[in-house]
Point group: C2
């Protein structure tokens, strides 16, 4: 679904290199590339890392842009600080996916978190991100982090541990991440959560119809397991449509009513996207998104 | 800053046509095109209209994408319903720019609005939008609408009329719209407003540094004239970064405190993006945007 092509610029007389992703068959997003740092095939997917003048280093899996150094903070702050500000007493966290380390980088800002288990199916993603994108991946070495290279679907099926927070930092609902959008997975996550546990997952976008249908289904599946199940949004410039949704599900917490303003502010966590005012605003969805999810 | 190119697809053996806009020198956004409906040069700018499979008809001025039929509702609802929900008694409205008719299409939903003056510098934009994009432009024929084809900067310098709402639906801060980002213009708008008047303008995006600097300057200029001057945001998939800002300025209204929930809901205005919950959320800006504007 992507192409890397060189073209000759008549102005500069220099070969140009661009990474292009098709957001739909009729929409393309392209980023100028300085160098193609690494290209490897794991048993699970094709992994490419580029350096770019606009976005710093970018990670591409199977041709899909996963993160850029310039805007990764938006996604990773929104999957972590939203649940942490609802329950700042979270101690035991499970991250499914997230081999780039961006989610862990935000979690380790909380001294109160005691244990982070990261279950990533593809060890090569972790190895390459550590080597080539240390600004994002380096906190994977924090001593509270335990890395497990296995299938997240199988992990939650078998685990007897109870987590206060499960973050599904997955790829799209096709390819290696497909199982992370099934009813079985959501049910097992529900079981693996403590009574006041929180489940957060990436929910794609609903602007383009290809994604909208997958997310409608995913959202209604999650709703069967959790009394509180809401979507919230963020602006991620490099993702399709730029309007990205996350799911927040819990047996006890309403993420708007139960936001711990003062407690979170007192932690003095430094953020570039998240703040407690934005926390509430993120749950205020456009009318067409509300109508699609209903 | 844009290019229309044809390429031969080896799969379908059919020439492909794409419209491409450079969001920065290092980022490109491309839309597949079915037909190039019309291409004309006015004394002010180059005007192109295309039909596209993903976005319907799209309007391009001087190579920059101005609107698509698929997502124009987001921009146009946000510049109109936000001020209308703060003061539903608005009767006399001035629109500067907006020759495509999208802003007027939202305004005419209010029976209570008595007069809409649209000041568009380029008559050809209005003529071509009426002919080729009637789904957006047709309400320009509403009998409350008075069209004036002149420079908005000159119009507000000379007018003796008082408006309850001025909406600046302009192009970017370069080219024909440049004067609409000056201190003189903001001062004259302030004078042309009734005591409880509201001034709304498009504020671009701050994600890419090219736009951020222009907007920082514009925002600080507006602040000199109005006790209340805030930015609010929306997700516009086809604009650079997808994260688009608007300015709300008034001598008396705080757009969050003074939102007339009940009064607006009672009007039963049908919207696809705006709702009163989102109204408040739109003012909850990401931390990096707050920091940039400060």
């Amino acid at each position: 679904m992507s192409e890397f092509y060189r073209e000759t610029s008549s102005l500069e007389n220099k070969a140009e290199l661009w990474f292009t992703e098709n957001h739909t068959p009729n929409v393309r997003f392209s980023i100028r590339v300085d160098t193609h740092l690494i290209s490897k095939k794991s048993p699970f997917q094709q992994i490419d890392i580029f350096t770019t003048p606009e976005f710093g280093k970018i990670l591409v899996l199977d041709g899909y842009l996963m993160l850029t150094e310039k805007d990764e903070f938006i996604y990773h702050e929104m999957v972590t600080h939203v649940p942490m500000a609802v329950n700042p007493d979270i101690k035991n966290v499970l991250v499914i996916g997230g081999g780039d380390g961006g989610t862990v980088k935000q979690l380790v800002k909380y001294d109160t978190i005691e244990k982070i288990t990261l279950v990533e199916i593809d060890k090569l993603v972790v190895d390459l991100c550590r080597e080539y994108i240390p600004a994002v991946a380096s906190e994977l070495s924090d001593k509270r982090v335990s890395l497990k290279f296995e299938d997240g679907l199988k992990f939650v099926r078998q685990t007897t541990e109870k987590f206060d927070l499960i973050i599904v930092d997955s790829t799209d609902p096709f390819g290696p991440g497909e199982g992370l959008f099934t009813k079985e997975f959501y049910g097992n996550c529900c079981k693996a959560l403590s009574d006041n546990g929180i489940f957060v997952n990436q929910h794609e976008s609903v602007f383009y119809s290809e994604y909208a249908n997958a997310m409608k289904k995913a959202h209604s599946k999650i709703k069967e397991f959790f009394p509180y199940s809401l979507c919230y949004q963020s602006h991620i410039p490099t993702y399709p449509s730029g309007h990205w949704l996350f799911g927040f599900a819990s047996k006890v917490f309403d993420p708007r009513r139960d936001l711990q303003f003062g407690k979170w502010e007192n932690l003095n966590i430094k953020t570039k996207y998240y703040n407690t005012t934005l926390h509430l605003g993120a749950f205020a969805l456009p009318q067409y998104v509300r109508d699609t999810l209903r």
